[in-house]
């Protein structure tokens, strides 16, 4: 199992935070372009899924799989979007993303008076706590360990 990277977007599509672990391929475009493309894709998938759904949706889009990676998506009612890419052997990551929101983002960003909520997060504390949390997950170890 492996976790590749993590994106955090606010409701307007600004990338508030990005970090990566074990990522093997870097895109040819700049990071800013990549964030825009990612947000655009998630936005379109959400509208795509809501139109295609045979019944009314509650949570909407949860994850998608390709041959090499799996993208997990979680959105809070306030429009904050958490996206995590992992490898294919990882199951449901909804609880993990919810945990990142409730015990890391809320604790170390929302409650931090120095953090502006619509600007990219520069807090070292949030960065370290997130890194520590992700590394402690059972999904984190690279294939050799599992």
């Amino acid at each position: 199992m492996a976790i590749f990277n993590f994106y955090l977007f606010d409701r307007n599509g600004t990338c508030l935070y990005y970090s990566e672990w074990n990522r093997k391929k870097q895109l040819s475009m700049s990071k800013d372009e990549e964030y825009k493309l990612m947000y655009g894709m998630i936005f379109s998938i959400k509208s795509f899924a809501s139109r295609l759904s045979p019944t009314d949706m509650k949570e909407g889009f949860l994850n998608f799989t390709t041959s090499k990676y799996k993208l997990h998506f979680f959105e809070t009612p306030s429009g904050l979007k958490l996206i995590m890419n992992t490898d294919l052997s990882v199951g449901n990551m909804k609880d993990v993303l919810h945990q990142i929101f409730s015990s890391l983002y809320v604790e170390y960003v929302v409650k931090n008076p120095l953090c502006e909520l619509d600007k990219p997060i520069t807090s070292e504390l949030f960065k370290n706590k997130l890194d520590e949390y992700v590394r402690s997950l059972s999904q984190f170890p690279v294939k050799a360990a599992s």
Binding site: T55, F64, K68
Partner: protein
């Protein structure tokens, strides 16, 4: 254990076939209203949809499917009366309105198919690992989309219940049906919409078989 619909998309991203399972129930709410109507309705995509005022199972985004038993067609009723005008006239009340999730029109299906085609490409571009394919499955809380792309770029898409098993096998079977009854048909031209009775019946047979577990594996 249900398959909701099947789409086939050609290598350029246009829809060449779609099939909706007839036994999928689309819930609708019928309610009698008195004047004035509390719900706020608006015209969106040539349909009259609820914009504000969720109540009694009527949700924002639901479309008007019929009034007093007369089915709706776009923004008008079947008898050519404009829905918004009917609802604005006090003498028509009390009035019975049927709400439900809007049905997809063929135009919308074509649009969604090309949307999937581009999402598929972006999905592989944004990969953190090298040599990733595009989206193979996409899960939401109400359905799961399975996509199989052949070597020639044709995409077979199945929209099924999240619990439906063996969809990969069904996708392969659909590819077989496509090769046997569309490609081998001398009247079929490549990348064009598939209109062949044999293809229809065989595709439906595969889907019916899939609803009986155990048989498809043999």
């Amino acid at each position: 254990m249900t398959i909701f619909s099947v789409y086939i998309i050609n290598k350029a991203g246009s829809l060449i076939y779609h099939y909706d399972s007839p036994n999928v129930s689309r819930p609708a709410v019928e309610k009698t209203f008195s004047y004035p109507l509390e719900l706020v309705l608006k015209v969106f995509d040539e349909k009259v949809v609820v914009a504000f005022g969720e109540r009694d199972g009527i949700k924002v985004g639901h479309a008007v499917l019929g009034i007093n038993g007369v089915p709706a067609e776009g923004r008008c009723l079947k008898d050519k009366r404009d829905i918004l005008e009917v609802l604005a006239t006090e003498s028509n009340y009390p009035i019975n309105i049927k709400f439900g999730r809007p049905h997809l029109t063929t135009n919308e299906r074509i649009m969604l198919a090309s949307m999937l085609h581009s999402l598929f490409a972006i999905g592989s571009q944004l990969s953190p690992e090298p040599h990733a394919s595009g989206i193979q499955s996409l899960e939401t809380d109400t359905f799961k989309l399975h996509c199989h792309q052949t070597m020639t770029g044709v995409k077979f898409v199945i929209i099924a219940d999240p619990k439906q098993a063996n969809v990969d096998v069904i996708l392969k079977k659909l590819y077989e049906v496509y090769s046997d009854f569309a490609l081998k048909n001398p009247f079929y031209s490549l990348d064009m919409p598939i209109r062949a009775e044999l293809f229809d019946t065989n595709l439906q047979a595969v889907l019916e078989q899939a609803d009986k577990p155990g048989i498809i594996n043999s």
